[in-house]
Assembly symmetry: C2
Homo-oligomer: 283 residues x 2
């Protein structure tokens, strides 16, 4: 595995790779890698000749009151894990390399950036779209792999790729979970022991919703009410939102129809840790 920290060197490495006629698969991450990330790298490994994993904690996608400063980092461990999962080139630039003095340009995907997560995290998806556009331009991949856990992020990036004619295939990988169902996330390390126990409420509520739908429930308000009840059993859990939406547009739907692909998603704060999760249901 080759480690690259400079944009110019990364661009040159991509040029060489392209000259050899090799396809490039990109796996953008913020590091502190867990099995979920590794599954993305392993997936890319299966179809791309050259897998580029990026590690960059992107300040532009954190709000001023958010956890950019304390976001967990362990570069030496990440390096070993990225290599073991099959990374060919690890691109890990510094903040100043990605956003030098006088940086001014942002990519905005309207509408889908403003709902759900976007309502609670202003400018979050603007930061995401911008850094992904930059990484696309630096690494010029044929395909890029993202996790289903960040479903809205994937929707924003898919829209950007389509609108800005990137011609890059966006591949989604299923969410990996701890044995008790908690979705893997670098932020899970924030959870104190009691909070960690309560954090299973997200997945339990999603399974509850899935069972409701399987048993014939079609009204979103009933599904949301059932999920709220499940989560309220955890005394430290505070719901930011629960959404029943069209999986494509992320527009919320009052009632599910047969044939719909539905994304049920939620954000819940457990103490000071904010967790998200979702489930895709084809009805």
């Amino acid at each position: 595995m080759r480690l690259v920290t400079q944009t110019a060197e990364m661009r040159a490495a991509v040029g060489e790779t392209k000259k050899q006629g090799k396809s490039i698969g990109l796996v953008p991450t913020m590091g502190y890698l867990h099995e979920g990330h590794l599954s993305l790298i392993r997936f890319a490994r299966q179809f791309a000749d050259c897998v580029i994993t990026t590690i960059f904690v992107n300040p532009k996608q954190f709000g001023p009151a958010e956890d950019f400063g304390r976001y967990p980092r362990d570069f030496e461990r990440d390096k070993a894990l990225a290599e073991s999962a099959g990374t060919d080139i690890l691109f890990a630039p510094e903040v100043g390399e990605m956003y030098p003095e006088g940086y001014l340009t942002f990519v905005e995907v309207e509408k889908i950036s403003d709902i759900l997560e976007g309502k609670f995290r202003k400018a979050h998806f603007r930061g995401v779209a911008t850094v992904v556009a930059k990484l696309f331009n630096i690494t010029r991949p044929d395909s890029a792999v993202f996790g289903q856990k960040d479903a809205q992020q994937a929707a924003v990036i898919r829209q950007m790729v389509k609108d800005l004619n990137y011609g890059i295939k966006i591949v989604l990988c299923p969410t990996l979970r701890e044995p008790d169902g908690l979705a893997m996330s670098s932020r899970n390390v924030y959870l104190a022991a009691e909070e960690r126990k309560e954090s299973t409420a997200l997945w339990r509520s999603l399974l509850f919703a899935r069972d409701l739908v399987r048993n014939g429930e079609r009204h979103s308000s009933k599904i949301v009410a059932g999920m709220e009840k499940t989560i309220r059993e955890s005394p430290h859990a505070v719901i930011d939102y629960i959404s029943v939406a069209c999986a494509d547009s992320l527009e919320e739907i009052p009632a599910i129809k047969t044939g719909d692909e539905v994304l049920i998603s939620l954000a819940v704060r457990i103490g000071s840790t904010r967790l998200i999760d979702n489930i895709l249901i084809t009805v």
Copy 2:
């Protein structure tokens, strides 16, 4: 010369060109080609193996009260001119091909998009940056050629290329002028005979400014006052702005210092036609 109207076909043609190891030079235009455009194509012809000229009247860079609907168009003539100047591939997509139903993504270059032209044409440079980002992604050029007449547009695009890591060389070509000094522009056809005579006021005022600076004037307010006086001699001319700015940042400067590269630019309405022009002065 090959004519392409579909994005997918354009992308495939670019893929073939790249496979042959050829460099690509892009000349983005809104059509109704004049000698200024042709000089850009001829310039690209000198350093690129494959010259892609695009003709697309981009609705996203026109305000609601602006001239999108009546912007002059003559595709058959453009086709012949583009070919004669050395275009290899002419890309001329329809609006629906570039902005299909449900289009949501925009590129914004902050600060330099909001001054000068941006003050009078809200969202203009957002439309420019967006369409150029799209054209860059579709045609993946090594270099792109723009005219010095649209100096602020060039500054916005240079900033975008740097910030979003496009790795594309931006080449500027000097403004071509009619024998009486009027900068060539597709919009000059709007001018009635009397307005056409008065339109030389822009260039005369810029030459006047240059002479003032050559004669030692260093105060921007004096230079602007002199230019205003020159332009007021034309009864139908209304000044939108006159700016003495740093050529790089486009930030206005109260006084010129030795060694400065200064951009003096202006926008003037003659009747219902809005004209822009500028001059670069190294002091």
